[in-house]
Symmetry: C2
Subunit: 195 residues, 2 copies
């Protein structure tokens, strides 16, 4: 285990909007997330703590065939203990362009590529009460099959679904992952497709 | 600080879908989140770790006046270091009904009540790669003013915006909070309001 209690080396106190950070301690770190606890003065001037999760930039893609079928991937999510159907998603490695990261994921998870990418939504705050995680969502059109190199640690089912059916899955509560919901809704808006 | 490394007392090994949990260690806990690290066998049978954040149930409400104005609250988010406009949100305390929690938040943050509540979306997974956080979103119609008791630790601006303007804010990237984006789009779908 990689976790240690390390003093974060910035100069304190530090103003953060109406908050003041007095000190910061790294609580935990693994290759995917880190957790720190700050001693703060709250907006009302009273002392408190703020526990914060830091992550990679999250990326997701609404990947559509020429016939407007969307790629959905199915997997068991360890964190929420359910099997979910989602758009293709992944995290951008440190310093990696989020667009390149999601292009890589589309190959790794679904064996698909596209020459036709656009940004749907940038810097979406997934859980801003206690996490700094941001998500970038993309639309890839006219996707086509390429060589497939799946990650054996992440076994996934892949299926193609008519886009309007995916939109129904969102509103019927059958797609419950926030990035997937937002991506599909933004794509529907951009493409002028409603239910 | 309340954090300690505590062995989680369940019986192991434990199957979780295609994963096996071998042991679990509580890394950190504050009144809002806890973090644990599990030793696991991944779906491919190889050993690994899984770091997990656990939170309260998140709740949010698209709160509308009779004239279809929505309540938006503005605040500086410590975690993401930006000022954001969002729907009214809050966490359900342990054992608290999420609906009651968000009814309480609507009073505390905006000084509003409603007799007309419905569920928009249940158990939305906000960040299911490393967090078990679930969100329930509600629609409250015909809201009206009541006595206002704001939390001094959370100073917020409150503004009323025509619902269609809020929908534009979503698609123009001016509302970036995931629960707000999802809630506003589900409300638009339910009410048959498009751009």
């Amino acid at each position: 285990m990689n976790s240690q209690y390390n003093e974060v080396t910035e100069s304190f106190p530090k103003k953060r909007g109406p908050w003041t950070t007095l000190s910061s301690l790294k609580i935990y770190e693994n290759p995917w997330i880190s957790v720190r606890e700050d001693q703060v003065l709250r907006p009302d001037g009273k002392p408190g703590i703020y526990g914060l999760v830091q992550t990679k930039v999250a990326t997701g893609v609404v990947a559509l065939t020429e016939n407007l079928e969307i790629v959905l991937v199915g997997q068991y999510r360890y964190a929420t203990e359910v099997y979910t159907w989602e758009i293709v998603e992944g995290g951008a490695e440190h310093g990696e362009d989020p667009l390149q990261a999601i292009q890589r994921e589309l190959v790794e998870e679904a064996g698909m590529i596209s020459d036709n990418w656009e940004l749907l939504a940038k810097d979406i705050q997934l859980s801003n009460c206690h996490s700094s995680e941001l998500a970038n969502l993309y639309l890839a059109k006219k996707i086509r099959v390429t060589a497939h190199s799946p990650d054996p640690a992440e076994p996934m089912e892949v299926k193609m679904v008519p886009f309007k059916e995916a939109l129904d899955m969102v509103y019927d509560g059958k797609i419950v992952d926030a990035m997937s919901i937002i991506g599909i809704q933004f794509a529907a808006n951009k493409l002028g497709l409603t239910r």
